[in-house]
Amino acid sequence: MIKIVKYLIVWLSVVSWQIAVNPFLPKSFQELNLPLVMVILFGFVYSKKVALIWAIFFAFAFDLYSVMPFGSILFLYVLTLLIVNGVFLKMLTNKSFYSFCGLLIIASATFWLVNCVELILYYFFENHKEQIALIFSASNLYLLFKQIILNCFVGVILYFVVNFFSNKFKAVYIDTTRN
């Protein structure tokens, strides 16, 4: 029961942060995607299934407060998670600090790219084709750069916080001399 309450508090805090605080921060900090960082961290610390559950819960809440058709944010998060998981299995084999940073960069870039594809489709069907050219503009690419930096910065802090409180990433020695 306490665990559920803890999870609920974390979920509510992250959702509220993303909807009510993040968009109103000074311009340089608005690109932070805390839910994405959390999903990647949960996938890294626990398992991909845990990450999927968190991704669905986060995205479901965002979809309820979104102008885009229902499901677009769900797809965005889940597809990002699947791609990141695929990369992790194929290319990054250990759970080191560097592979976590690599995953965050890949996750931020994938999220941005999938988001761009969704926006293109949305603008296309809503007949706002002039917006499509702006998606791949230099300023939008600069936003991706900012997002990667911010996500990595917050991700690294969270990584060290988890590392401080748990033994998940610490080296473990098996003492064979003891009975």
Binding site: V21, S72, L134
Partner: protein, 275 residues
């Protein structure tokens, strides 16, 4: 070993995508409505308080950063400008309405509309549109298309989506926003006010033979359903015209800071009891 993990990844992907598709399907057939209601019920108060907190900290940060006197002076000047513009609008509006009355004996009375005050609780997380989330919804009588006013009674947007307890408003500076407006005092000039990438406002398609000047007040035309006429939108900041073009365009400046909207008024038509 690798193959084993990749196979597992494949089945995991199928499950994940399947879950998303099931959720979309359930939403589509309205079977997910009770769950969505619970989600909104749980999240709304927390989001609301987070927004309040972020605003308080934002103001504190601003106070620290800027000198207090400068802020106070700026605020006072803004209020003075708003009062002057309101006065100008009222004067021009009354004059125009008198003429209109004499001509047709038929006008839209603003008293037909009642304001519903709502608090802004957040912003949509997707980047597709510049929209705000407010804490009033269908239960409070909101419906799609109603005009939304900000500080000093300026038009800031329209309701574009409603839930039971919340609603979303599309700001007028968004590209998707189109509002029929006129230039106050020159009653025949009508144009479409459009947002520009969430940064500014423009009116296009103003006939070239019409004279406009910087500082002209822009108000709603009243041609749209649910939106009464003479709601202040802003004033002309600059305009562009060339003799070979049929139409001219004008950049509009609103006194509302679209990044700091905390309270809004939604105008709803009063239900007449005389009919």
């Amino acid at each position: 070993m690798d193959m084993f993990f990749l196979k597992k990844h494949k089945s995991f992907s199928f499950v994940a995508v399947g879950l998303v598709l099931i959720l979309i399907f359930l939403h589509w057939i309205n079977l997910l409505k009770p769950v969505e209601k619970i989600f909104i019920l749980v999240t709304k108060p927390v989001i609301n308080s987070f927004y309040g907190l972020s605003n308080r900290f934002g103001n504190y940060y601003l106070n620290l950063k800027s000198k207090k006197e400068l802020l106070a002076e700026n605020k006072k000047l803004r209020e003075d400008v708003a009062i002057l513009m309101k006065g100008k609008s009222r004067f021009l509006s009354a004059k125009e309405e008198n003429e209109f009355l004499r001509d047709q004996l038929d006008y839209v009375d603003i008293n037909r509309f009642e304001p519903i005050i709502a608090k802004v609780i957040g912003k949509s997380t997707d980047q597709s549109q510049n929209s705000l989330i407010i804490d009033r919804g269908e239960d409070h009588g909101l419906s799609v298309g109603l005009p939304v006013l900000g500080e000093h009674g300026y038009l800031i947007g329209k309701v574009i989506r409603t839930n039971k307890k919340t609603a979303q408003i599309l700001l007028i500076n968004d590209d998707f926003s189109k509002i029929s407006v006129k230039i106050q005092g020159l009653k025949n000039i009508l144009g479409i006010l459009q947002g520009r990438f969430g940064l500014g406002l423009v009116i296009e398609m103003i006939p070239i033979n019409q004279t406009i000047k910087e500082g002209d007040l822009i108000v709603t035309s009243g041609l749209e359903e649910n939106i009464p006429d003479n709601l202040i939108v802003g004033q002309i900041k600059s305009y562009q015209n060339s003799p070979e073009e049929l139409f001219q365009s004008a950049a509009i400046e609103s006194l509302v800071d679209f990044n700091k909207i905390t309270m809004v008024d939604i105008l709803k038509e009063k239900i007449s009891t005389h009919d």
